[in-house]
């Protein structure tokens, strides 16, 4: 018996995008426009943005809640695709806007996640006497202490990779407010790290990103 290829019944959407949207790489807006008539086209938006959205949310919430929120982001996106403003070629800020709304509703879990990261320090000291983990925990503690609005803007800018203009689009705030929140958040982060005894850039307690 010939075994059929194991494929999701909707995975053909990627192929059909190429057929239906000839003439160069379609923008997200093109794909979303096409998906209004044929929902399977939206798979290309998923393929383009899922990893980035998931990564952002998993960093903030851990893998369990983060993946749940990432999946919900795309479920809400496809259900509301008809309301997408097609004048924006890149759907990234729109998707992160949905993700940010979901994230705000789960603010408590974000704090729990960051605190858990901090608490892990206790169990990690014995196996990491070099102290590289100390710096990581300092950052976790500092993020917990940040004002939630400053934290959101800062993380969208630094982790989401969005310029100020796109952070404004994600959050629906005036760009001046975004600039102010990021600036104040950055200053507060420095104060918190200094008060924890971790001097940014000094590296005496281990370089961030390395494992001892």
């Amino acid at each position: 018996m010939t075994r059929a290829p194991k494929r999701d019944f909707r995975e053909g959407a990627l192929d059909s995008v190429g057929v239906n949207l000839r003439g160069g790489t379609p923008s997200d807006a093109d794909v979303i426009r096409a998906s209004i008539g044929e929902a399977s086209q939206f798979a290309l938006v998923f393929e383009r943005h899922y990893d980035r959205v998931r990564r952002f949310l998993v960093r903030r919430f851990g893998s369990g809640v983060g993946e749940e929120l990432a999946a919900e982001t795309f479920a809400q996106a496809i259900a509301s695709r008809q309301r997408y403003d097609l004048s924006y070629p890149d759907a990234g800020p729109w998707l992160f806007g949905i993700a940010a709304n979901l994230a705000r509703r789960h603010a408590r879990e974000e704090v729990q996640h960051l605190r858990l990261l901090s608490e892990l320090q206790q169990g990690s000291v014995a196996i990491d006497p070099g102290g590289a983990i100390d710096m990581r925990m300092d950052v976790a503690r500092a993020l917990v202490a940040l004002d939630p609005e400053q934290r959101e803007a800062l993380l969208l800018h630094v982790w989401g990779g969005f310029p100020y203009e796109d952070v404004a689009r994600v959050t629906g705030l005036p760009i001046g407010t975004v600039r102010s929140r990021i600036s104040r958040g950055k200053r507060r982060l420095r104060e918190l790290l200094d008060s924890n005894g971790a001097s940014v850039g000094r590296g005496q307690r281990g370089t961030v990103g390395e494992s001892s």
Partner: protein
Amino acid sequence: VSDEFDLLKRWGEGLDVTPSTQSRREARQRMFDALDGELPSNGPGASRLKRNRHRRRIRKITLLAAIVGLSLTTAVVGAQLDLYQTTKGETGEQLRTNLGLSPTPLVDGEPPQSLFDTCQAPGQAIVEVPSGGAVCVGRGADLRGQFEAWDLSHRLRGDVPTEAEREAKWLQLRGAELEYQGDHEGAMRLYSRAADLLTGVVEPQGQVPRDGSTTSGE
């Protein structure tokens, strides 16, 4: 790049965990599930959708339980192992090996992502235990593995369980199994003894899995 931005960026990169193909596939399927009116109402696709909806319901229960602070065994240890991986560069499986624990059974060739992933075989079910938390019970359910996962999650947090706590947890897992089998009285007996252990009314008798064998003593 400013120092603070660079620090935050690099710290965030240290938290990244590679997504499993399964979670990605489920997210993609869930996205299409959101289009109720545009989905097939019968056939293989519909069957898969029903199954995925069921999985999501269980996931939501798991998530809800986590939010209200219950100690869902596998979900908790999964999160802990992910965190450990990011801070030490060692996988959960390597950690389990180093600690002399049995390997986690794979699901579709990948590590399980949730309690539901490990509890899908016919004749298995997820049962809550009185102390809060849930356990996979039924035919072929790995009670010992779940016990080890719970134990490991606490050790990773630096909260090493006492012998009384370990024995109480083991009795609770076995109680849940008995309850699933319909032996309510037997389950209550084990739950009661677990409560007595936790309150110090009785002393532990060493009735926990050790060295590849399971001591029941009941």
